[in-house]
């Protein structure tokens, strides 16, 4: 196999004899340049055990879909003559609500095209140009690992372990041997690294739900008992499309007769498919709606007074803690006792854009229909004041008497009936104790030694950091450009390689983040190595999958456990790293042992490998917080006071009532509906999830790009003002950048709002115009007040026809 063969030819030789990929030849040029030349696949002489077994026959082999939608669906590879001919969903004979099949969504069904994508990283490479310029040179694994090891030693010597950072990423989240844990284990054994708290998905939710209910909630299948389901900022048929997941259970609830209401700036696919009533709300104004709904319920005696008195802190003045100021309760806020502004439906109508009479009827509907499940999802907490709505929605669940009943909800995200515990590669303790907000890593590059546990940074574990970030390990992540806010600003920070001196990216794809790295390590996909993935648990069934290697590794990609093991040797911690376990199989055996300790029915390693899938059913229909309601003294919630903390003493103690109030409040946002900046940038841009991607994973995969084009939703009124018709190419811009994207002109979005689905890969031209249409070219790097989370849905922009 020569250096100058086209990629399609090589792939034909190696694996692709039975499949056609017509676009590959045309896409080859750019990728070949990036790859630094093409060559012999390291593993070409190997034949996998699975493939050998399948010689000249058709055989379904268990693999898995393993991305960060969280579905973790069951997927079989139909292997014929050593080639994956097609993918097959869960083939369990049983497919009932008690044990539904785990059917992967369109993303899972496109896996073959992802594995064989021209965007795959093929060889270890090192940067040879300016950082971010995209010039790389192929190097050997030996050189790559030697360089990383010697640089880690040098940087440790010069700046200490606090200058090391293992970045947030969701490409390989699972705890098994071919995931992120091995490298974390290695880096901890080598003295540790500054860690992060929170995630880009749920920063505000995970920061403040512990301060209202603790987050415990009814499982997804419990919606079968609901008469009415109210979804705030939630699109489950898209975000949890496959598997046995929230979307599936919503559909089952609809079939069982539940009525749905979706409160969202867009008429989501969930709103359409669940035949829900759509209440289009201005982005970032949900707390104003909750306050007005409360107002209607209070003034019309529509709420459960006894429940609020017994189970909540701070709903009314007489349930406030003793040291709380007068008029600091939720009721005082709603009735205007605190600020002379009564939160009437008319008041909220101006802010939310929902007519006052509709707010009144919604309040009656929610208060008088039982059981009513009121759920939130994570969209509205990725906003400027994302902490507020998270703590507001549970108030409605409690007031309406739906807290901890069958068919009800505690007002958080949908709960779980319980998954399968398998353990994983242990990360061990981290000797470095400083922890930063996941969103604030650029600050650690530019001003790490100034970061403290004070209001500006809210670092945890230590009072202040003692080092700037000098070494970053980016493992299966696209968050150092594409998924972080304000890409142009981020790249400016990264471009100075005297600050952050070394970025190592371990990846399967040449992502926009990989382009900004110094050393690239090509990792095996799930088709090229064995792994263990667990899934399910939303409803009554959970499963563990032995994900078999089904093809020979492509080019020089290697399993993650091998890379960490090799580095452990070079860094002098091999024995501690291995603890007697060297291979993928050794570590999977270790995980199976852990699983068998927790569940005596879990199969042995040999059985598990043979059967591929272990399903476990539970009674299901779990009611969150049932024990608390039964006996709140004996079974307190996990909140600091053990009750539903509408008034949070923890937040009150921070003494920042404007931005971190003790009760949830509507706080007008910067770049929100009432910001005067709308004179210049009149449209509010949100960046919702797209069904064709799991965040930025699957961007560019041909079958998916064809199925769902990357388009911006814009209301027909806003489009008409700008002379834009459906399908027109447009520019979206603000002071931070400019993107190019096609318009989907639709009534399914509020006037004044546009939606640019998140995750499409950033692709700047020479003038900085992002031809990839990545929403984060336009988002703002401005952490939320308390969680220090990512406000990636709060943006003002202008749109014009290209």
């Amino acid at each position: 196999m020569g250096q100058n063969q086209p990629l399609s030819q090589i792939l034909d030789d190696v694996v692709l004899t039975r499949r056609s990929f017509v676009k590959w030849s045309s896409a080859l040029g750019g990728t070949a340049a990036l790859a630094g030349g093409l060559g012999t696949a390291l593993h070409s002489a190997q034949t996998t055990e699975a493939a050998r077994a399948a010689e000249s026959t058709s055989q379904l082999i268990t693999t898995a879909c393993y991305h960060n939608c969280g579905g973790r669906c069951i997927l079989y590879a139909d292997v014929q003559d050593g080639v994956v001919k097609r993918l097959v969903p869960d083939i369990d004979e049983v497919d009932t609500i008690d044990q539904p099949r785990s059917i992967p969504c369109l993303r899972g069904r496109s896996q073959i095209h992802r594995v064989y994508s021209t965007d795959r990283l093929k060889y270890p490479m090192k940067r040879v140009g300016k950082r971010g310029e995209g010039k790389f040179e192929r190097i050997s694994w030996e050189e790559a690992l030697d360089t990383i090891a010697s640089e880690m030693k040098r940087l440790k010597e010069a700046y200490g372990n606090e200058s090391f950072y293992f970045h947030y990423a969701s490409g390989t989240q699972w705890p098994g041997p071919n995931g992120r844990n091995p490298v974390r284990r290695l880096m901890r054994l080598f003295g540790g690294y500054t860690d992060y708290y929170g995630t880009y998905s749920s920063a505000c939710y995970s920061a403040v739900i512990p301060l209202i209910t603790g987050g415990i909630n009814n499982s997804a299948d419990d919606m079968l008992s609901s008469k009415l389901v109210v979804l705030f900022s939630s699109n489950p048929v898209v975000t949890t499309s496959g598997g046995d997941n929230v979307g599936y259970h919503c559909m089952k609830a609809k079939e069982a007769g539940a009525r749905f209401i979706c409160i969202d700036p867009i008429m989501t696919d969930s709103c359409v498919a669940l035949e829900a009533e759509w209440i289009p709300i201005n982005p970032g104004t949900d707390v104003a709606l909750v306050a007005a709904l409360s107002h209607v319920m209070i003034t019309n005696d529509l709420y459960d007074k006894d429940f609020m008195a017994k189970y909540s802190v701070g709903f009314s003045e007489d349930t406030l803690p003793e040291d709380a100021p007068k008029n600091s309760s939720w009721m005082a806020y709603v009735m205007g006792d605190a600020d002379d502004v009564e939160k009437t439906p008319e008041w909220a109508a101006e802010i939310t854009g929902i007519p006052a009479e509709r707010i009144v009827s919604l309040a009656y509907d929610m208060a008088q229909t039982k059981p009513c499940a009121i759920f939130q999802n994570l969209g509205f907490q990725r906003r400027a004041y994302g902490e507020q709505p998270v703590r507001a929605i549970p108030i409605l669940a409690a007031m309406t008497g739906n807290f901890a009943i069958h068919g009800g909800s505690t007002g958080g995200t949908v709960g779980s009936a319980g998954g399968i515990k398998m353990g994983g590669v242990p990360t061990g303790d981290n000797p470095v104790k400083g922890v930063i907000s996941v969103f604030m890593w650029p600050d650690m590059i530019t001003r790490g030694t100034e970061m403290t546990n004070g209001p500006q940074d809210r670092i945890k574990g230590v009072e202040k950091l003692n080092a700037n970030m000098k070494f970053m390990w980016n493992h299966g992540g696209n968050t150092i450009t594409n998924q972080h806010s304000d890409i142009n600003l981020t790249q400016e920070i990264l471009s100075d390689d005297t600050k952050l001196e070394l970025i190592v990216t371990c990846e399967v794809m040449m992502t926009p983040s990989a382009m900004w790295s110094d050393i690239l390590l090509p990792a095996s996909t799930g088709f090229e190595t064995d792994n263990v993935i667990t899934g399910g648990g939303s409803g009554r069934v959970a499963w563990a999958m032995y994900s078999h290697q089904v093809i020979d590794p492509l080019f020089e990609d290697m399993p993650e456990i091998w890379m960490a093991d090799q580095l452990a040797d070079r860094l002098g911690v091999l024995d501690e790293f291995r603890e007697g376990k060297e291979t993928t199989e050794d570590w999977i055996r270790f995980m199976v042992d852990t699983a068998r300790e927790a569940d005596e029915n879990f199969p042995t390693f040999e059985e598990f490998k043979e059967i591929g899938i272990y399903k476990k059913t539970s009674p299901g229909q779990k009611i969150g917080a049932a024990a608390f309601v039964e006996d709140p003294e004996a079974n307190p919630l996990t909140t600091p006071t053990g009750k539903i903390e509408i008034y949070s003493p923890t937040l009150a103690a921070l003494e920042d009532p404007e931005e971190i109030p003790a009760i949830p409040k509507y706080i007008p946002e910067w770049e929100g509906v009432s910001d005067p900046l709308r004179d210049t940038y009149p449209l509010m841009m949100i960046t919702p999830h797209a069904v064709q991607r799991s965040h930025s994973t699957f961007s560019g995969i041909d079958y998916l790009e064809e199925a769902h084009h990357h388009v911006m939703w814009i209301n027909a009124l806003d489009a008409a003002d700008r002379g834009i018709e459906n399908g027109d190419t447009c520019y979206v811009f603000n002071d931070r950048g400019k993107i190019e994207i096609k318009a989907r002109v639709t009534p399914r979005i509020r006037p004044g709002v546009i939606a640019v689905p998140q995750g499409h890969w950033h692709k700047p031209d020479k003038d900085g115009l992002d031809k990839g249409g990545c929403g984060n070219t336009l988002t703002k790097y401005y952490p939320t007040p308390y969680a220090k989370g990512n406000p990636q849905h709060t943006n003002l922009v202008q749109v014009e026809k290209a």
């Binding site: 017509v22 497919d95 969504c105 369109l106 496959g242 696919d269 989907r744």
Partner: protein, 207 residues
């Protein structure tokens, strides 16, 4: 035809995700721009001024998954100059790849856009009901791959008995033209019929 096979699509369960489309393309290894099963989004309604605000008025949307309808009256078969198109004993409309000359008359004639030109092969191709899987006792890839269990298949008479006879949702054409062997379960709320002017296809570029 006694054994005529057909599809059923439950419009009240379809989320428009296109797992069916991708499962079909994966199983049949289709190149880009050849899409045997597609999903149209049909959307209508508008925003009207009420006082000082705009409010939604009659806004609706739904998804319709369509493949070859394996019609009783397949126009594609009638117009094919090479006699490459036939209906087999199960009523499945097939294109003989050895006879097809790629003239694309069938593509222009079919009101559902089912026959599609494969530029690699130079021939017309279309949904063949996954006959190889059926012979193996498996479901067609699209049916097995529907995450929300909105698709079904079987003898059309049985499907009609089970799901009813509705075969003309908008944006599809008048079913009397070709007598398609596909039945639809309408939604509880809005499902327009083929003669409706209430909406339009929102995703024409994806079909």
């Amino acid at each position: 035809m006694a054994n005529q096979l057909g599809f059923h699509v439950d419009l009240s369960k379809c989320t428009g995700c296109k797992a069916c489309q991708v499962a079909c393309k994966d199983k049949n290894d289709l190149p880009m721009d050849v899409i045997w099963r597609r999903v149209a989004q049909y959307t209508g309604g508008e925003w009207i001024k009420s006082g000082n605000q705009y409010v939604p008025s009659n806004i609706f949307s739904y998804f319709v998954s369509v493949s070859c309808m394996h019609c009783d009256n397949p126009l594609c078969l009638e117009v094919c100059p090479a006699a490459a198109i036939s209906k087999n004993e199960d009523g499945i409309v097939e294109i003989d790849q050895d006879k097809c000359v790629g003239c694309r008359y069938c593509e222009w004639t079919c009101p559902y856009g089912a026959p599609q030109f494969n530029a690699d092969k130079g021939t017309m191709t279309k949904c063949n009901f996954c006959v190889d899987l059926l012979a193996n006792g498996e479901k067609p890839a699209c049916v097995a791959g529907c995450t929300f269990r909105a698709l079904d298949f079987g003898p059309i008479e049985e499907l009609r008995e089970k799901y009813g006879h509705f075969d003309g949702p908008a944006p599809l054409v008048d079913p009397s033209v070709t007598k398609p062997n596909m039945v639809f379960t309408p939604r509880k709320t809005v499902t327009m019929t083929f003669d409706s002017k209430a909406g339009e296809i929102a995703n024409p570029e994806e079909l």
